[in-house]
Amino acid sequence: MSNNLLSVRSLKKRFGGLEAVNVDKFDLNKNEITSLIGPNGAGKTTFFDLITRFQNSDSGSISFDGKNVTSLNSYKLARLGMVRTFQLTRVFDRMSVYENMQFAGSSINNEGFLNSLIQSSSLKNQEKLLTEKINETLELLNLSEMKNAYARELSGGQKKLLELGRSLMKSPKILLLDEPLAGVNPKLSEQLLEIISNLNKNGINILMVEHNIDAVMKISERVVVMAEGKIISDGKPDFVRSDKNVIEAYLGSSDE
């Protein structure tokens, strides 16, 4: 039990007549890159929304880091260290790259109305300390040159990087990446994969939804396959790759 960072039990969500998610049991081990794959509409993003509390589940329970978070607010869950990105990249368009990072990194305390009004020297110091971390992270992501650009001026791939960088400013325990490689060119994809795998080596757990099967198989320690809201296969990449269920539902067989 103590090895499970995240554990989900009989989680259900329906939309009208459609059973979007129905997951009996899902545990996430520490220090692994886990990938969630499956055809479009299999419920991966809904599952993401449910465990990050962006949507309410109909029934079931979620616990994170030993705490029951089934009905916790999404932002509180993020404070506990579960940080997500979005399938359609969500950067703050009319703020600069640097401000995007600043907002992510600044403490909730400093964002308090009174503290911001008074602007004590400790607040100013903390904001300065932030600068270093921002510069480091931007360096890591190769975004330093775009530091002062409005976020909306970035290319699709750069926005993905910025969103990742923003999440890193939170020093998360677990990062949930929703299609980090979607719309990213092969070269940048390589780079992103390397960054993700390095993050994992530095102790950040990764759970990601991704369609790029090659990338998934290369980087993940564990692959979970969803179809029609259910988990149909779960295991090491090699196991999943040869699982008959998976081939039928997702990878597709060439014999017609």
């Binding site: 509180k76 969500r90 964002e111 911001s116 009004l117």
Partner: protein, 348 residues
């Protein structure tokens, strides 16, 4: 820089127009206009915190202005318009003003709690409805608010504090000293509040509000309480609105249910859009230019009608207000001072 030069010229032309079109009493007209402009500008600064900073649609500003005004006036010596009985006891004015501002902020809290979780256009409907509820209640509960007869004889609390030199200065230029004092206090408040706001805007809090304006879900994903931030912004803007309402009734010297009608809110919005949504000084500048336009509408009325009555004067004024709102929203949504990069065209 170019837009500041344009703004400067607009102001200069406006003021020249006032003095040229009023050969006698130009100073009086100028002070009257600047006082109203200051009050509306202050109110617009409040809405700017809501809309420009946070993306919240508040169309019930009249309620915040009204609750600030009524609370303050009822706490100081006053008399109800119909009965004329003077209630001479009360709190000292500064404390009453403070309570008025707090009351406005609390109304913001009350309205914000249920509605800030909803989509933007719902907030617009709810705030306009809340302002109407406020007006109807004020009108109906006559024994407290004076209803349509209103409250009178409360200005002394403010005018007693007027320094002698103001009075002497006013008299030598044929200006109403009472109005000059209100106007001066209003513009001093604007400067103080803008200083505070410019500090807040650059602070982590101000940054967080802008992030909320851009994308609430992303804010939440980063562990920030978007609803709390919106609530704080809503209360701050409401408080500023409350203060402007207080100045408004001291400028009139009376307050009735009809002072805080919905069109008041629309006037303020027009000033905001004119000056530039999101910019710091834009709302105040917008209010000045707005009032110059309003003042010059009377000559349009005289052109259209031989001897315009009150109805025609008001009609022409508001026709122009409506046109201004539409015109700027469509062709220059960033207003005179707004940043082009922060255009609000695509706000959903």
């Amino acid at each position: 820089m170019k837009k500041y030069i344009i703004a400067f010229f607009l102001l200069a032309i406006s003021f020249m127009y006032i003095f040229l079109s009023n050969e006698t009493g130009g100073a009086r007209v100028f002070v009257n206009l600047m006082t109203f402009a200051g009050i509306y500008g202050l109110a617009a600064i409040g809405i700017n915190v809501h809309f420009g900073w946070t993306g919240l649609l508040n169309f019930g500003h009249a309620a915040f202005m009204g609750i600030g005004a009524y609370t303050t006036v009822l706490l100081i010596p006053h008399s109800l318009g119909r009965e004329g009985v003077v209630i001479s006891s009360g709190l000292p004015l500064p404390i009453a003003i403070l309570v008025g501002i707090v009351a406005a902020a609390l109304l913001g809290l009350l309205l914000g709690l249920p509605t800030l979780r909803l989509r933007g256009d719902y907030l617009a409907i709810v705030t306009i409805a809340a302002a109407e509820i406020f007006r109807l209640l004020v009108r109906d509960f006559e024994n407290l608010t004076g209803g349509v007869y209103g409250i009178i004889q409360f200005s002394d609390s403010l005018q007693n504090s007027r320094p002698d030199f103001i009075t002497r200065f006013s008299e030598s230029y044929d200006i109403s000293p009472a109005q000059f004092w209100v106007g001066m206090l209003t513009w001093i408040s604007i400067i103080v509040i803008l200083l505070i706001l410019s500090r807040l805007k650059k602070s982590p809090w101000g940054r967080a509000l802008r992030a909320v304006r851009e994308d609430e879900d992303a804010v939440r994903a980063l562990g920030k309480n978007a609803v709390l931030l919106k609530l704080q912004s809503f209360m701050l803007g409401a408080a500023i609105g409350g203060l402007s309402g207080i100045f408004l009734v001291f400028n009139y010297g009376t307050v009735q249910a009809s002072t805080f009608v919905p069109v008041l809110t629309f006037y303020v919005w027009a000033a905001l859009i004119l000056g530039g949504v999101g910019s710091l000084g834009g709302p105040a500048l917008g209010a000045v230019i707005f009032w110059v336009i309003i003042a010059s509408t009377d000559s349009i009325s005289r052109f259209l009608f031989e001897s315009p009555d009150g109805q025609q004067l008001a009609g022409v004024r508001f026709v122009i207000v409506g046109l201004l709102i539409m015109f700027f929203m469509i062709f220059r949504p960033s207003g005179i001072l707004g940043k082009k990069e922060e255009l609000l065209l695509d706000v959903k």
